[in-house]
Symmetry: C2
Subunit: 213 residues, 2 copies
């Protein structure tokens, strides 16, 4: 639409908070070398606007209603493997950060970070870099030491968080109650806790699971 946007970095901003979108837009539009070409508040909208605008860089919040930011990233990267995505997240230590990076996100920025970092990261990512902040690097390394939960274990703790008993979890997953207890013990061991309540809160803190609506 604009006329003299020859070499500007074209950005898609995805966040369900209008105020955050405005903050990002303002910050970016103040830069001479970048501009926000579209904003989305949901994953579905993001996919549509991405196809329509083909932005150079996409800023993606992870906590979206409905389709999550992680799922959105996976879809975008599947159809467009060269999509450059910067994750914008609330809390550090969120397990989803690592899953997002594994899904192809190029970098992540905390919402508590001063916004100068955001534009710097956008420039780096646009140049093809994958800037990795030191705390993420150390936590990625730490993941190798204490391995993440397996798929099945995530399913179990997800149901635990819903208040299900082991017997009910067994029924839901069509496995024996004994097996559920094995998964439970492995979860406790990995998270460094001794009961299910602490396991659920620990998993929530680390972003392994989320409180659904």
């Amino acid at each position: 639409m604009a006329s003299e946007s020859s070499s500007r970095i074209r950005i898609l901003c995805v966040d369900d908070h209008p105020l955050v979108r405005e903050g990002v837009t303002r910050k970016i539009d103040l830069q001479p070398d970048m501009e926000v070409v579209a904003s989305a508040s949901t994953g579905e909208e993001a996919i549509r606007l991405f196809a329509q605008h083909r932005p150079d860089v996409t800023i993606m919040d992870l906590n979206l209603p409905g389709m999550s930011g992680l799922e959105t990233i996976e879809v975008l990267r599947r159809t467009r493997p060269d999509a450059r995505i910067v994750v914008l997240t609330m809390h550090k230590g969120d397990e989803d950060i690592y899953r997002a990076l594994e899904a192809g996100a190029a970098a992540y920025v905390l919402k508590t970070t001063v916004s100068d970092d955001l534009v710097r990261v956008i420039r780096d990512v646009h140049l093809g870099a994958r800037p990795m902040s030191s705390d993420v690097a150390t936590q990625l390394a730490a993941r190798k030491v204490s391995p993440p939960l397996t798929r099945r274990e995530r399913a179990v703790i997800e149901l635990m968080a819903r208040g299900k008993r082991n017997k009910e979890i067994a029924a839901d997953l069509a496995i024996s109650e004994d097996t559920v207890e094995v998964h439970a013990r492995n979860i406790f061991s990995k998270l460094g806790v001794r009961d299910r309540t602490a396991a659920v809160t620990a998993a929530l803190k680390r972003g392994i699971i989320h409180l659904g609506g």
Copy 2:
């Protein structure tokens, strides 16, 4: 500092996310009748800046690191009972909303709300109104039907969320384990659950407790 700020509504913005602060500032400064005179990222800073600037309206996020938004509101209203405060919060259904309103907040706005509502609410609050959105009103009414947790019950579920056993909770609160179990049963009953894990997740969803650190 500025010259022609004769009749403008002077606003203090409190939020730990720089991008949100920028979004709010941008939105407000675009209005002809209001301006942001100061921004704070913590409760302590907010109290200091409030005393310094005496804003007409304070926009307050509830989820602040360290001193919570709720505590900050209580302090502000205790020293300045005429302080007009608009709560800016993430999720609706957050118990803290009602505690904030009881503590003297004049209104609340969701971060997912379109930002036009924010400036409208600010104007109303500045005129002395306490605009109450319908869903808050219904939920306030609902609180009378199913009473909120008592102080002691909140203390118990807080410790539950930390993974403490009943015996440990009893020791922490210097009461008998039997009494803890009584509180636990009352909590389950009020929250409509049957075990502690579900109680903790339900309390987290409703904003009765929060995941610290």
